[in-house]
């Protein structure tokens, strides 16, 4: 039966331009993981509920499982692999997650990290309610969330002491 049409897709991921060819139906989550080898972005449900696949597009958190790679061209995509500095220095959110034991199996973690990063870029000093609201769309089966909330609070402190 007939071969599916492939498109040349160009994505800007973590500041690097990446080219690959894939059919139109390729989900951004699969493109990142499979075509580009950026397996830090995880897939937990493919219907938008769990948040494991959350990446930033033009600085806003979105579900990469509900985005077609072909439709994400010309946008600025950021994934967990781009969070730490080039020299390996952790982003304050990453450091805080480790410090506060905010992860267990780590499967949900990239989604939380990206969501929290976007929050702190928009609101450097969120209150508890804003933190809760920001991560309210991400599931974690392991931690019970308590330490995740604490970690984001701690990240705020780290960022402030950084300045």
């Amino acid at each position: 039966m007939n071969e599916e049409m492939s498109h040349e897709i160009v994505l800007d991921v973590n500041g690097k331009v990446k080219r690959f060819s894939a059919p139109a139906r390729r989900l951004l989550s699969d493109a990142l993981r499979g075509d580009l080898g950026l397996t830090g972005t995880h897939v937990g449900c493919e219907h938008g509920v769990c948040g494991c696949c959350t990446v930033l597009i033009d600085d806003q958190p979105v579900r990469s499982c509900l985005t077609f790679a072909i439709a994400a061209q010309d946008r600025k995509i950021r994934t967990v692999e781009g969070l730490a500095d080039a020299d390996g220095k952790l982003h304050p959110v990453q450091a805080a997650f480790k410090e506060c034991h905010a992860l267990q199996c780590g499967f949900c973690t990239p989604g939380f990290l990206m969501t929290a990063t976007a929050l702190l870029e928009q609101r450097p000093d969120p209150d508890e309610e804003e933190i809760t609201e920001a991560i309210a769309g991400n599931l974690c089966r392991c931690t019970g969330y308590q330490n995740i909330r604490a970690a984001i609070g701690h990240a705020v402190e780290l960022m402030q002491s950084d300045i």
Binding site: E4, M5, H7, P23, A24, R25, L27, D30, E46, H47, G48, G51, T54, Q60, P61, V62, R63, C65, L66, T67, F68, I70, A71, T115, E133, A134, A136, G137
Partner: protein, 282 residues
């Protein structure tokens, strides 16, 4: 859970979109994709062509004039929620948007997509109904305006023709003497509501009620509107009795049971929420 194969078309203008829509067989509009792509991933929807309108500048505008707030088809929930003029001129839109999913979904999902999707559990469907708003559509056959009351035909069924695109949604502003309130109960924060009620109360100059109505979500195949004009006209809001409202609402609604709630509980909730949202319109 991977979508079936399709051809992707990025529309260059509304005209291009309508042209493509009429030429391509079984084509579908792709806006934010937050309702369509889940369905495609489950293979409950397998359109052979998608026409992406999410990047069209001509659809990305929010216009506010004396009479209404007009929202272009590429405007996301987040953009509407964060637009200052909307908050000051028609705060009900902001109240409703806060209840639509989670921020991450609102970042992509569009207001007009919500309306086209015609989910009776969608907050915006109830809002446009209670405001008696409308959508403006375009197709190769021309443009038309569909009033909210005519837009929703059943669960996930709108009266849009196959070749029509919603270009914008028109939300009439409330008068200076009107108040509104949105109340819903969802099992988890951010979920589609088990039941919800959005009320608008208009007052006359004597601070008596001129008219009052509530639109309900998640309790019928389409957003349902109940008018309380007869019951409430000329009364003060403080005189409204819980039991009368409860009685009217529960006698008029006929919701379905599902895994989350019995029909009775839904009906009860809708009645309680109607009461609470009316009471909040003071």
């Amino acid at each position: 859970m991977k979508p079936a194969s399709f051809d992707y078309h990025r529309a260059t203008s509304v005209e291009d979109a309508t042209q493509l829509l009429s030429e391509l067989e079984d084509a579908k509009i792709l806006a934010g994709g937050q309702s369509l792509i889940p369905l495609m991933n489950f293979r409950l929807s397998t359109p052979p062509h998608l026409i992406d309108i999410s990047n069209l500048p001509e659809l990305s505008e929010i216009k506010v004039d004396d009479r209404s707030v007009t929202v272009g088809a590429a405007v996301t929930h987040t953009t509407l929620l964060k637009t200052q003029r909307v908050a000051s001129e028609l705060p009900l839109l902001v109240d409703a948007e806060k209840l639509v999913a989670h921020e991450v979904i609102r970042n992509r999902g569009t207001v007009c997509g919500s309306l086209a999707h015609a989910d009776p559990a969608g907050e915006m469907t109830a809002v446009i109904r209670v405001l008696d708003g409308a959508v403006r559509t375009s197709s190769v056959d021309g443009e038309r305006t569909i009033q909210a009351v005519d837009l929703f035909e059943g669960p996930l069924q709108s009266s849009l023709k196959e070749n029509e695109v919603i270009v914008e949604a028109i939300f009439p502003k409330l008068g200076r003497n009107s108040l509104s309130s949105f109340r819903e109960v969802a099992r988890r924060h951010g979920d589609y509501a088990i039941a919800g009620a959005v009320s608008v109360v208009d007052y006359d100059d004597a601070r008596s009620i001129a008219s009052a109505r509530t639109a309900f979500l998640s309790v019928g195949p389409v957003p349902i509107l109940i008018s309380f004009d007869q019951l409430l006209a000329k009364t003060k809001i403080s005189d409204i009795g819980h039991d009368e409202i409860y009685e009217i609402v529960s006698s008029q609604l006929n919701p379905q049971a599902d895994v989350h709630a019995s029909a009775d509980y839904r009906r009860h909730l809708a009645a309680e929420l109607a009461w609470e949202s009316l009471k909040a319109c003071v």
